[in-house]
Subunit: 327 residues, 2 copies
């Protein structure tokens, strides 16, 4: 990060800025002297995550929903860069409420783009997902992998968002930065397998229910490394549409992850597997992204997956209040 | 077509069934003994296109909009196959009304899928487009071309529709048939360059305004060949998600197309070019799809592009009323 200089924008608008990645990004940008407006409906975000940000000059918080176009457009006034991180990130339960992905991801992204047009903002960074590759035939999966077939409503909604952003770049002279994330770990992580496993082990350290056969291979990235990568790309990539996979050079099995978690917690639960190579409908048994493109810009992750897992657990142990709030 | 036997479904529901491709499909299915319900808001469709269909037993027409979920769900009752052809097919003017593609293509497709769930219908064929490949680095472009970057709101909305359908196949046990069309020509064609050129030449046969440099290379397919291909795929392809490019083994320059049109009409206009290799923002200077996959099922087109152009012109000459109605 040290070599990229000060940000090329003065006032960032962060959707989902009270969430896990958004609040970490907000803190970082504020520390770099950028004004930050966070727009968040606080459905999955936490006001507590903005406590540091509130101490900084140049910070504003607007509670609002992305489906409220008027409020969104008003809140964006004066911004010169949009980080669109708000999403229904619940890849697992898409089939229980398919409308959620459509509204909160696809339609919300459209509303963000229209609010940008209305405000004359032309640069956008977007949190997409490695899930857009479906069950990729090429692993590690590069950005130009074969045109994928979607396997989840979440992935489909993110593909739709990517397409909208690219079309606005072509049609309205926008510049887009699209990041296909692996799962992100670290401080303020409140969603995903470590969150679930830790909660289960707090309730009963003798047994752990594991979805699937535990052999699913997944990739993870530490949130500060993720923020580094986003800011590196935004300052160094100059195409109209800039697509980057974000991940590490490694993957772990769910079982490896459980090993790290149980060792750290000092528990030895019996593992009960639901079986099958997929944990749920649309689960991808092997996610591993090729990250040479972002690394070619000089970025590399500082933490290994295992270090990221431990960092996450330490944060959850020190912040058990998130489990109460998350009901 | 002769070798595929009777359709595997008894009652087809066709969205956009009063349109160009939809009404030709309706006629074909009725002639094969299939019951057909056409659902169309008649915004771009023509009731006149259903005159033959209305003479047949087993035909029903419901005037309705895809954004009216209740009407859509009610109309679909009893169907066992959905052909989702309704769309805003206006690739050129997307930037004038970006909401149209979102609503009429993406949200409409979601509504169709939900209406299918409500009615227990699990098979869907979808008219996508070669535009989803953006400016493809591989030509002729195969179905598994590199993950494309969208260049039009229309393409983006179709990618979103494809993704939704694939996710419903995975999540809800649907079977999907996704067709990426080149431009379709033939009887009831009411939209596109031949329509525009013929209209201009009727008004003034001495001069023809051409968008771009006239060297854009495009592919076309005759509508009856398109219907053949759709029915062949639906009966012969057995995957969960079946993706097919539909086109011919050739392409023509816009200038070649103008040669064919002016020769047929016996006019020799001066050509005035707006210039540039793209006719409009998001125009793709070279569209040519690899169609080996659909041909491997035994389908091949009966008409060449030039024959399709003449067939189209003949139909327009005999049906100049569509220009009046199209105001």
């Amino acid at each position: 990060m040290s070599d990229i200089g000060p940000p090329s924008f003065g006032h960032a608008f962060i959707t989902g800025g009270a969430g896990f990645i958004g609040s970490n990004l907000a803190d970082r940008l504020l520390s770099l002297g950028v004004r930050v407006t966070v727009y968040d409906n606080l459905v999955t975000g936490f006001p507590e995550f903005l406590e540091e940000a509130r101490q900084r000059p140049g910070f504003a918080f607007v509670k609002g929903d992305l489906l409220d176009e008027a409020a969104l457009t008003a809140a964006m006034k004066g911004a010169d860069f949009v980080f669109h991180l708000a999403a229904n990130a619940d890849v697992r339960f898409g089939t229980e409420h398919p409308r959620k992905d459509l509204e909160q991801n696809t339609i919300a992204t459209y509303n963000v783009l229209e609010a940008m047009r209305a405000n004359g903002v032309r640069r956008i960074a977007f949190s997409s997902t490695g899930s857009v590759y479906g069950e990729a035939p090429v692993i590690p999966t590069p950005e130009d992998a074969p045109f994928p077939i979607q396997t989840s409503l979440y992935g489909a909604s993110k593909v739709a968002g990517e397409g909208l952003i690219a079309a606005y770049c072509e049609g309205f002279g926008f510049q887009g930065f699209i990041f296909r994330f692996v799962s992100i770990l670290g401080e303020r992580y409140t969603h995903g397998h470590i969150f679930d496993f830790y909660q289960k082990l707090l309730q009963d350290p003798t047994v752990l229910l594991v979805l699937g056969d535990g052999k699913q291979r997944k990739s993870y990235l530490y949130v500060q490394d993720c923020v580094d990568a986003i800011l590196t790309a935004v300052e160094k990539a100059g195409d109209k549409v800039n697509l980057f996979n974000l991940g590490t050079n490694e993957y772990v099995q769910v079982n490896d992850s459980i090993d790290a978690i149980t060792a750290h917690l000092g528990v030895t639960p019996t593992r009960a597997y639901t079986g099958g190579e997929r944990g749920w409908i649309g689960d991808n048994p092997f996610i591993f992204l090729e990250t040479r493109k972002i690394q070619s810009l000089g970025w590399k992750p500082k933490l290994t997956i295992r270090q990221g897992i431990i960092r996450t657990l330490e944060w959850l142990q020190a912040n058990r209040w998130v489990y109460e709030k998350r009901q």
